[in-house]
């Protein structure tokens, strides 16, 4: 047994419901400040929250996707604390009976084996407003985000390396995207992640748990965790220990910086929310959501490997998002060579899409055009290199492949008579090579083929060229 790293994650994800959790206000990012507000989400005196049932659907979908059990009888609770962005001075959340509990996400452990990272709970709650600090030092408040539905996902401290934690986040993100629960944009705050890290040395000495906050990307989270593990180890090696505190990652300095020491635990005075009726779910309700679950990335990956005989690498790339996997499956419904589609998606399509920073929806040509291109290549009507040229132009202009091929004259010469004419001419001009071939020098064939291709400006069908040369030489 060596040193052990313990990492636990707490993730807040904003749900993509149309309206807020307790009122009919729009749930949208980027609206003018304080425009998506009503007495309910502003917590005005007398207003009352009414739970948006879609929030339950979304949260249960998340729970089931992460292999959680779903509480049939639960409730909302109040978490009391004072803060200006909290309109009621309490957050409606869930305390002792989370909606979803006891789940897991499977990741690949350091040794390559499959490992289940426990999910302790997923509960629903409302988001708070946002404090904005202006140049003069005044604090201004935007309550558009107040009442946006959230799920809080709490993992067990089962991750034993930053890489495992990174994978956990990646998998979590994939599933939230696949199920359309959240748009998981960390830079917009729709996914927020806090990390708890500590290290246990072989001799049993432990560093104190440090909380990392304000991580604005998965990469930042990974770097912050790696930094912390080293820091913990160094301190322990010196016979010192970490301070139980909250730290933030500073991207510019590439290090974590202390934000605040863990003060005495805040007493939130949780108690059951009397304004929201208890949540009692029927089997039917939960089963209905279960039946509507989309195929999740892991299952899809396995199916792609089995059904289309794709290598694992391809299956992984094709299932990184719902858009990509849908794209692939639509292509395969029109054209049966899975590996060829996979190659073209991975090497040409995704590369160009990523380079341009666009989404698959923005691609200028439609799938029928793409299929047409792959078909003419596979039928040998144009060769692979010509195909790439056509693809580039399709991508840039959206022109139809058949037009591009025609314009550029890329179609292969399939006419046996025409090729024969060229072949005869080349053979007559290179009698020495014909002789060499007949004397057993196979290389001469390659030379002759090359000459014919050159003469046809690369358009002759190479298989046909080969066959004709051999046939004609026999009679010479």
């Amino acid at each position: 047994m060596g040193d052990k790293i313990l990492i636990g994650l707490e993730i807040h994800a904003e749900l993509l419901t149309n309206t807020k959790i307790f009122c009919g206000c729009k749930n949208e990012f980027g609206a003018d400040v304080n425009t998506n507000c009503c007495p309910v989400c502003l917590g005005l005196p007398g207003s009352l929250p009414v739970l948006n049932e879609r929030v339950l659907d979304f949260a249960i979908t998340a729970g089931l996707s992460f292999n959680c059990k779903i509480a049939r009888n639960t409730k909302m609770d109040r978490k009391n604390y004072f803060y200006p962005d909290l309109t009621k001075a309490y957050q409606i959340s869930q305390y002792d009976i989370p909606l979803c509990y006891d789940g897991y996400i499977e990741v690949e452990a350091e040794d390559g084996s499959a490992k289940k990272i426990g999910i302790e709970r997923i509960h629903i709650e409302e988001d708070t407003g946002k404090s904005l600090h202006d140049a003069t030092g005044d604090t201004l408040l935007d309550y558009n985000r107040g009442g946006v539905p959230l799920i809080e996902i709490v993992s067990r401290p089962d991750m034993n390396s930053p890489k495992e934690a990174y994978q956990f986040l990646e998998k979590l993100k994939e599933v939230l995207l696949f199920t359309n629960i959240s748009d998981v944009k960390m830079e917009q705050g729709s996914l927020r992640c806090d990390v708890n890290v500590n290290v246990i040395k072989e001799d049993g000495r432990k560093s104190n748990i440090v909380e990392l906050k304000n991580l604005n990307s998965f990469k930042a989270a990974l770097k912050a965790m790696e930094y912390e593990v080293i820091r913990h180890n160094e301190l322990l090696a010196k016979g010192e220990n970490t301070v139980r505190e909250t730290r933030r990652w500073d991207d510019s300095q590439n290090k974590t910086i202390s934000m605040r020491s863990k003060e005495s635990v805040q007493d939130y005075r949780y108690f059951p929310e009397p304004d929201v009726v208890d949540i009692n779910l029927t089997e039917e309700y939960v089963n209905d959501i279960k039946n509507k679950l989309p195929e999740l990335p892991d299952d899809k990956r396995k199916r792609f490997m089995k059904e289309y005989s794709l290598p694992e690498y391809d299956a992984k790339v094709l299932t990184t998002s719902k858009e990509i996997s849908n794209y692939f499956e639509e292509m395969i419904s029109k054209f049966s060579d899975a590996k060829m589609i996979s190659n073209w998606i991975m090497t040409e399509l995704l590369r160009r899409v990523n380079d341009e920073g666009i989404t698959l929806d923005d691609v200028k040509f439609d799938k029928d055009a793409f299929v047409y291109l792959l078909k003419v290549i596979s039928e040998g009507k144009i060769n692979n290199n010509a195909g790439k040229k056509v693809f580039r132009e399709m991508f840039e202009t959206g022109k139809k492949p058949e037009n591009i091929i025609k314009e550029k004259g890329l179609i292969q010469i399939q006419d046996e008579g025409a090729i024969k004419e060229i072949v005869v001419g080349i053979l007559n001009d290179n009698l020495q090579s014909v002789e060499d071939y007949k004397n057993g020098k196979d290389r001469a064939l390659g030379f002759l083929v090359g000459q014919v291709m050159k003469a046809s400006k690369g358009k002759a069908n190479p298989q046909m060229v080969n066959k004709l040369i051999i046939d004609i030489m026999k009679n010479m």
Partner: protein, 485 residues
């Protein structure tokens, strides 16, 4: 008879027959307010201009032959913890002294839609905490029967307004007896419906799991009329119930032959004034004469109700009142140097003593280490109290008890003794904890002051409760007595 002396129903009939106009009726109420308000102090805000304009609108509708609600053109008053769009809603607190809500409470919306005419917002104990309306930051309301006495609380302003002829009916709110007790002390019919029967949307919360909008009227028929207008599921209040609303007025008759009345022995013990006890039991005799059967029932956890209430209600209040922090609306203290300072100073200056007392009790009861001993235990006792009522209603249709332990007391008499004040609601609190409906009707007098009889009904069975109240009322003359001012 002066116009303001009529009941809602009488006034409504005269309006519909066009014997009087809504404008005349409204003017008579406004004149009466001008006449007696300096003595009674029922109102915090009087909306004279709006009321007169609305009355004119109603008159036009009636003249045009439009079908109007029974409430159309009838002046009424609303307790100042019920939100009114564009009209100050203060909760009788410095904290909300200038708060103007941008929306109407559902009950107000319903009344407006029915053509009701609001003449003003009534005085109350600050944030509905109190049993005498002496905790108002703004003024002290007097009992119209004796200006040296309290009108009860916390809806004392609404009670006094109706008792003094300053409104035909009024809305109050009831958390632990704040409608029933002042109704008893001012000789009115006061009804608190089943929890969930009337929407709480727009009622500024005190104890959310207990709060209900209640009704003050001069008689039972008026009460049945107003309840029908207000009751029903509201999509803005998740705790409001999807239970059919009866036409309560149609259920009112004198036939008591199928009615079983329960007399809870725990409500006729020491601490209840002998004359009050006698008046209530005499009332039960009257109902017996009408054919009702009477039996003794037991509500064994009654003596734990006050303790339970004074853990649960303040706990919820401590959370409900946390939003008054000086950040977005209401009072904000001056001269703070930090965020914490802003909160502390604002709340120290903005809240009165009773409110602070309850916030502290509630904060304590909910805090880590005490939650199990207080809040959680109180929840358990509440379940037992609820079960008492469920069990009792297996055998009886209504339960009858005194509303308040005594008649109205002197202003200032109990203000320095919170426990004595808390005992005022000893008879009303248990049914509030259980969530069953209850009402008070006048059943006698002591030294010229009204005595209230409490009728408690089964869940969502306001109809039977009103029927019993109506039967009693129709064979007695207490409802016809008016305070002389």
């Amino acid at each position: 008879m002066k116009l303001y002396e009529m009941t809602l129903k009488e006034a409504s009939e005269k309006i519909k027959k066009q014997e009087i106009t809504a404008l005349e009726l409204t003017q008579s109420i406004l004149d009466r307010i001008k006449e007696v308000e300096p003595k009674v102090d029922s109102y915090i805000t009087i909306t004279e201009e709006e009321a007169l304009n609305r009355a004119k609108e109603i008159d036009e509708k009636i003249k045009a032959g439009e079908e109007v609600s029974v409430l159309a053109g009838i002046p009424m008053a609303v307790k100042d913890n019920i939100c009114t769009d564009g009209v100050k809603t203060t909760c009788a607190s410095k904290m909300l002294e200038n708060f103007v809500p941008p929306y109407d409470a559902t009950v107000v919306k319903k009344l407006n839609a029915a053509g009701a005419i609001m003449v003003g917002k009534t005085n109350m104990d600050e944030f509905a905490m109190g049993s005498s309306t002496e905790n108002s930051y703004l003024k002290k309301t007097k009992n119209p029967w004796d200006l040296n006495k309290v009108p009860g609380g916390s809806s004392g302003g609404s009670a006094a307004a109706v008792a003094a002829g300053q409104a035909f009916y009024a809305l109050g709110s009831d958390t632990g007896g704040s409608v029933k007790q002042p109704a008893a002390l001012t000789g009115l019919v006061g009804l608190r419906p089943t929890y969930g029967r009337i929407s709480r949307y727009g009622l500024i919360a005190f104890g959310s799991s207990l709060d209900q909008v209640g009704i003050f009227t001069k008689d039972v028929t008026d009460c049945a009329i107003v309840l029908r207008e207000l009751a029903g599921k509201d999509k803005m209040d998740g705790t409001s119930a999807e239970v059919e609303v009866a036409d309560y007025e149609k259920h009112l008759d004198k036939d008591m032959s199928n009615i079983k009345i329960g007399i809870p022995k725990e409500y006729f013990v020491e601490g209840i004034d002998a004359d009050v006890k006698k008046a209530v039991l005499d009332g039960v005799e009257k109902l017996k004469e009408l054919g009702a059967t009477v039996k003794e029932v037991s509500l064994p956890h009654t003596d734990s109700a006050i303790a339970t209430y004074y853990v649960l209600a303040p706990s919820e209040a401590s959370s409900n009142l946390a939003r008054f922090d000086g950040i977005r609306y209401g009072y904000r203290a001056e001269g703070y140097d930090s965020l914490e300072g802003l909160y502390t100073k604002t709340r120290t200056e903005g809240f009165g003593d009773e409110v602070k007392r309850r916030i502290m009790i509630g904060t304590y009861a909910l805090s880590a280490g005490y939650y199990d001993a207080y809040y959680k235990k109180a929840l358990k006792v509440r379940t037992l109290i609820k079960k008492d009522f469920v069990d009792a209603f297996e055998d009886v249709d209504v339960i009858i008890a005194p509303t308040a332990p005594n008649v109205a007391f002197n202003i200032g008499e109990k203000t320095s003794d919170p426990m004595a004040m808390y005992m005022e609601d000893a008879c009303t609190i248990p049914s509030c904890l259980a969530g069953v409906p209850g009402m008070s009707i006048p059943c006698g007098f002591k030294d010229g002051l009204p005595i209230g009889m409490q009728i408690i009904g089964n869940y969502f069975d306001e109809a039977t409760m009103l029927k019993v109240a109506h039967a009693f009322e129709s064979v007695t003359e207490f409802k016809d007595q008016r305070a002389k001012l």
